[in-house]
């Protein structure tokens, strides 16, 4: 539509003069798009020659959008991987907390749950990012399909225009084809730019989380390193095995008297207190399983301290 184009040109000139201020956002944005398209058209001496050139640019843009989709997908997968890691970690920490509570170590359980809360916080953040990346990916995919459809139409029209060229007619049809495709190209270009910006921001944050996990601040469930909570739990569990063994042996020696069951239970609770006394004793006896319960430092670092 020539009329549409000249309207666009007029409006574009108004925009340049600053009279567009009362025009509303929608109109102004569309005028900016039109001004761009018209500028491109005005450069052409023989529009037919530029049909192929424009088509090349459209194909380049299509490639760029597809690459954009792939980039966003890569970021999304990275976030997904981190989410899985954090979830594993969170599960593991809850498990540790449960075990610690089972052993009467509320302090350890609290420590594990604090780390779990931190991991969970990161996880929530990543879930938001994941949803954003997913939406961005879908948007770009649709944009790429739309551009592909328009590029196909343009190619068909380009061939028709070249085949049936009469100056006046061709000019009109070229204008039509160009203004439609250039608006789409401008929009898709903007969409890619926005997706790239968002992805870059999220990659920076994903990098920060990787560092956080590597530093052990969130504990390291995937790196295979045994953390302090786990090693203490293991030690406690070994210690309680010894206690059980001990009371079993005691029970064997004082064979079968009915009172011994109660006595054994008391013995156990004394045994549970014993490591606390042991904690005040000199450290450095590092073989829990081979030492009598009362002398064993069951809480070398934290615990009561």
């Amino acid at each position: 539509m020539i009329s549409a184009r000249s309207r666009g040109l007029m409006a574009a000139k108004m925009l340049m003069k600053g009279t567009a201020a009362r025009m509303g956002v929608m109109k102004r944005v569309s005028l900016v798009f039109k001004a761009k398209a018209n500028k491109a058209l005005d450069k052409m001496e023989d529009p037919r020659e530029t049909l192929d050139y424009s088509y090349q640019r459209q194909l380049e843009l299509l490639t760029k959008v597809r690459r954009g989709v792939a980039d966003v997908a890569t970021s999304r997968k990275r976030v997904e991987l981190q989410m899985n890691q954090l979830q594993q970690q969170s599960n593991k920490l809850e498990d540790q907390a449960r075990k610690a509570l089972g052993m009467g170590r509320e302090d350890l359980a609290r420590g594990a749950l604090e780390r779990k809360a931190s991991a969970q916080g990161q996880l929530n953040d990543l879930q938001v990012q994941y949803a954003q990346l997913q939406a961005e990916e879908e948007k770009l995919t649709v944009a790429s399909q739309r551009l592909q459809a328009k590029v196909d139409t343009f190619r068909t029209r380009k061939e028709t225009i070249k085949a049936t060229y009469t100056a006046a007619e061709a000019q009109t049809r070229i204008n039509e084809a160009f203004s439609g495709i250039s608006e789409e190209m401008g929009d898709v270009g903007m969409a890619i730019q926005r997706a790239e910006d968002k992805t870059a921001q999220m990659q920076a944050r994903a990098g920060a989380i990787d560092e956080l996990m590597a530093s052990g601040a969130l504990d390291d469930a995937v790196g295979g390193q045994r953390d302090d909570i786990q090693s203490e739990l293991d030690m406690m569990s070994a210690s309680s095995d010894v206690e059980n063994e001990l009371s079993r042996l005691k029970g064997e020696i004082t064979a079968g008297a009915p009172k011994q069951l109660e006595g054994g239970a008391n013995g156990n609770s004394q045994g549970a207190q014993a490591p606390q006394a042991g904690a005040q004793a000199p450290q450095g006896q590092a073989q829990p399983a081979s030492i009598p319960a009362a002398d064993r430092p069951a809480e070398p670092q934290d615990g009561e301290g």
């Binding site: 549409a4 666009g8 509303g24 956002v25 929608m26 109109k27 102004r28 944005v29 569309s30 900016v32 798009f33 039109k34 001004a35 761009k36 398209a37 491109a40 948007k139 649709v142 944009a143 399909q145 739309r146 459809a149 328009k150 196909d152 139409t153 343009f154 029209r157 039509e176 084809a177 203004s179 439609g180 495709i181 250039s182 608006e183 190209m185 401008g186 929009d187 270009g189 903007m190 969409a191 730019q193 926005r194």
Partner: protein, 92 residues
């Protein structure tokens, strides 16, 4: 009338629905001028909902230019300001 929601596609809209569009557009512009991000977001979403509710999507392979172009759903006020200057747009 053809309206494009940037990043979303083109819609054909009855002229009857344009009065409400214009009203929301004025709100949008006023919000940008007042630097009121909350009002801006509300007006923008109102505009987009109006277009989606009353418009029918154009076929992807059409080469029709749009009469009006709306910023994308998640656009910030600063981005819209940029869109209103030529420098903010990737060349078509």
């Amino acid at each position: 009338m053809i309206v494009r929601i940037s990043g979303e596609g083109q819609f054909s809209i009855d002229d009857a629905a344009t009065a409400e569009l214009n009203r929301l557009d004025s709100e949008l512009e006023a919000a940008v001028n007042r630097n009121d991000e909350a009002a801006f977001t509300a007006a923008l979403h109102g505009l987009l909902d109006q277009v989606r509710a009353h418009g029918s999507a154009l076929a992807a392979d059409t080469l029709e230019p749009s009469d009006l172009i709306l910023p994308p759903e998640d656009a910030s006020m600063d981005e819209v300001r940029e869109m209103l200057t030529e420098e903010g747009l990737i060349p078509g």
